[in-house]
């Protein structure tokens, strides 16, 4: 069965968690005990309706404050697809958790409160979705019940949002507008009869019909070596296997390859998945590869097809989402984790900060605060082997780790 990973986005209280709870309810994905728990809690809170956000807001603090703090991953399936939905927080303070949820998603639902329209956090989340090159975005204009299901309101918001869209960097991103009421269930799983002026599909139907797009895998094959397998048993005395996940394209037995950074050439001898040998390792499979020649390969090295090399360099420029309360500064030292490879990096330059509403850039910035997005140049103590993010989603992205706190403090997209 096809798996579709989706993330929600949008400002605080726009109804993201309610929407997901509503989808679960209307697709009968809530088991009787979970539904009972929602009924009881809603009653205890004095509501005369079911608060569906309780299906995903699982932390005590979230339930008390009525907001989402961290991503919840929710699973349900229809006859056609199995869905993994990341319910992300709208609150600015937790933007890092929104990026966490969105980073592995193929599609995203940006919610807008019909009473409020496009606001700053809508801009930021849309910008991040575009930066992540998420292929399909649904703009769900929510709480239509509170604006009398007005077509005019819907059109106004759509027009405002379209203005934002026209400036986006990744223009191939597909955007679909749907007017919904998460609370009442209009156009969520079932088509609403309150908005005859809307002729498109309900949200779930739209998701069901999305093309299977393998956004993570476009590009050429890259095989970062994760772990070297040396059994040293009698049966496998000389076995030396390179374990890792195949990204971007396929690798086959007999392929001429090159190992980076040494640029040693060899051929793929065998491809193992557990105790079986395969002719081809498909994308995203976790295999073990053996080579014809006995060469020195270790974790962090990369196996690529000969003649199809990534950029090998000790410096690069990237768009960075900064996520830490401590500022990023020029000259600051961080660890760049690029796939499974970790190298020490120094911030060489902050080229410019980017306003997430596409209103321009700030070339004077000397440091980045939490939630800032900027183009930053780094120098590394060792070369890494990368592609541009727009050509290779996995080999063009990295995270930044603060060597003092060990925290993940930023995400980057190589330009």
């Amino acid at each position: 069965m096809e798996v579709l990973k989706i993330a929600t986005a949008g400002s605080v209280d726009d109804g993201k968690s309610t929407l997901i709870g509503r989808i679960l309810y209307d697709t009968k994905s809530l088991t009787s005990d979970k539904l009972k728990a929602i009924e009881d809690k809603s009653e205890q809170l004095g509501y005369d309706y079911l608060d569906f956000s309780l299906a995903t807001d699982g932390l005590m603090a979230e339930r008390e404050q009525g907001i989402t703090i961290d991503v919840a991953h929710i699973y349900f399936s229809t006859k056609k697809k199995s869905y993994i939905i990341a319910d992300t927080p709208g609150h600015v303070e937790y933007t890092r958790n929104m990026v966490t949820g969105a980073s592995t998603s193929q599609a995203s639902i940006v919610l807008i409160d019909a009473r409020k329209g496009v606001i700053e956090q809508t801009n930021r989340h849309f910008f991040i979705n575009n930066l992540l090159r998420i292929k399909d975005v649904v703009v769900a204009i929510n709480k239509m019940d509170l604006v009398d299901y007005s077509e005019e309101t819907y059109n106004k918001i759509k027009a405002d949002f379209s203005e934002l869209m026209s400036k986006r960097d990744y223009q191939d991103q597909k955007i679909t507008f749907i007017p919904v009421s998460a609370l009442k269930g209009d156009n969520v799983v079932n088509k609403s009869d309150k908005m005859p002026w809307y002729t498109g599909d309900a949200l779930l139907q739209h998701l069901e019909d999305l093309d299977k797009n393998d956004v993570f895998n476009v590009g050429t094959p890259r095989f970062p070596v994760q772990y070297v397998i040396r059994p040293k048993t009698e049966d496998f005395h000389d076995f030396r296997g390179y374990a890792g996940k195949v990204y971007g394209g396929e690798l086959s037995v007999g392929d001429d390859i090159m190992v980076l950074p040494s640029k040693t050439r060899s051929k793929i001898k065998d491809i193992y998945f557990y105790d079986e040998k395969y002719q081809t390792a498909s994308r995203r499979s976790s295999v073990t590869i053996t080579l014809e020649n006995d060469i020195n390969v270790s974790r962090g090295d990369m196996i690529v097809k000969d003649g199809d090399l990534p950029t090998i360099d000790k410096q690069f420029t990237a768009n960075v989402c900064w996520m830490d309360s401590e500022n990023l500064t020029v000259g600051g030292k961080y660890i760049v984790q690029h796939g499974v490879n970790k190298v020490l990096a120094k911030v060489d330059r902050i080229n410019h900060k980017i306003n997430p509403d596409y209103s321009g850039i700030d070339k004077e910035a000397t440091s980045l605060g939490v939630n800032d997005i900027a183009s930053v140049s780094f120098k590394l103590n060792k070369p890494i082997f990368f592609d541009q993010f727009k050509n290779h989603r996995t080999n063009g992205s990295f995270i930044l780790i603060d060597p003092q706190s060990n925290n993940t403090v930023g995400a980057g997209f190589i330009q």
């Binding site: 088991t31 009787s32 995903t56 772990y227 059994p231 496998f236």
Partner: protein, 301 residues
């Protein structure tokens, strides 16, 4: 039946990737083994991840002393067959040493007490990564877990301040004394686990299949009346029923469900049609609305 296994394949590839990251990034990892279907699945994934080498970390069982005898038997046979190393630490020892106090009354359980024994064992062996079989679909607080989840020196989970976890890059950098809980099957549902067990033909303890058992009813749930571990009032009548267990935690907090599923394929069918969640039969979650979150904060799996 739906024989399409592409989603289970991608989950398997993801889990194997995570296992390998653990082996590469940590010095002393351990796989927490409870004897249940999720940890048996983890063992299978670990074996596949490192073939033809042996699994480069031991298993550890925190034995509450209230386990189903079938699971202990199964555990010992499994490690022997696969040539794995097994460490066992007993809650009884923590009780005898006066570190924890046995609960009493109708709902007495050793499930909470496990945490102390676990944290002590982590310290004793200086484990820096503990692989567990928790899944996000199990419970609302678990839905918030990262794959690499950092615990402080006291084993505690800081749920409001988790590290961002982007793409499939796992940051295992920690300070001395901290450890990371790792959840390779985070994205699996209960049905995925059962489908995998079926597909891989993995052996599991017999209590997961329907069998005749002496039971009694309380709070609308079915409790085992065998082995004398679950407290039973004299007026709670013992009946014989066809039941099976959906999870095999500590006997004192795991209720049975009525079932006639005697084979894996029947179990898969039953789970698919089930209208109650897996943890619906776990009394430890029913203690309060936030029972799981509180236990996790204190260092529970």
């Amino acid at each position: 039946m739906n024989k399409d296994t592409s989603s289970i394949n991608s989950l398997e590839n993801e889990a194997i990737y995570i296992m390998r990251e653990v082996a590469a990034q940590f010095e002393k990892p351990v796989l927490l083994f409870s004897g249940g279907k999720d940890s048996i699945t983890l063992v299978r994934l670990a074996v596949k991840a490192f073939y033809p080498a042996k699994v480069p970390f031991p298993l550890m069982h925190i034995d509450t002393g209230h386990n189903f005898p079938e699971t202990i038997e199964f555990r010992d046979r499994l490690v022997k067959e696969l040539g794995l190393e097994l460490i066992v630490r007993n809650v009884q020892d923590s009780i005898d040493e006066g570190k924890v106090k046995e609960e009493s009354g109708r709902y007495a359980s050793r499930n909470m007490l496990q945490t102390t024994t676990l944290l002590d064992a982590i310290e004793e062996f200086k484990f820096d990564a503990c692989i567990g079989g928790a899944r996000r679909d199990e419970e609302k607080a678990r839905a918030k877990e990262r794959i690499f989840s950092v615990r402080d020196d006291f084993g505690q989970w800081d749920e409001k301040n988790q590290r961002p976890e982007l793409f499939d890059m796992l940051n295992g950098d920690i300070e001395h004394g901290q450890n990371v809980r790792v959840f390779p099957i985070s994205n699996w549902t209960e049905l995925d686990v059962w489908s995998y067990i079926e597909k891989e033909n993995i052996e599991i303890p017999s209590i997961y299949f329907a069998h005749k058992r002496k039971v009694f009813l309380r709070d609308g749930m079915i409790w085992s009346a065998e082995d004398g571990i679950v407290y039973r009032d004299d007026n709670e009548e013992v009946l014989e029923k066809m039941v099976r267990f959906r999870t095999v935690g500590d006997m004192s907090c795991t209720a049975a469900v009525l079932s006639d599923a005697v084979s894996i394929s029947k179990v898969v069918e039953e789970i698919r049609d089930s209208t109650i969640s897996e943890r619906g039969a776990r009394i430890d979650d029913k203690r309060s609305e936030a029972a799981m979150e509180k236990r996790k904060q204190q260092g529970y799996f």
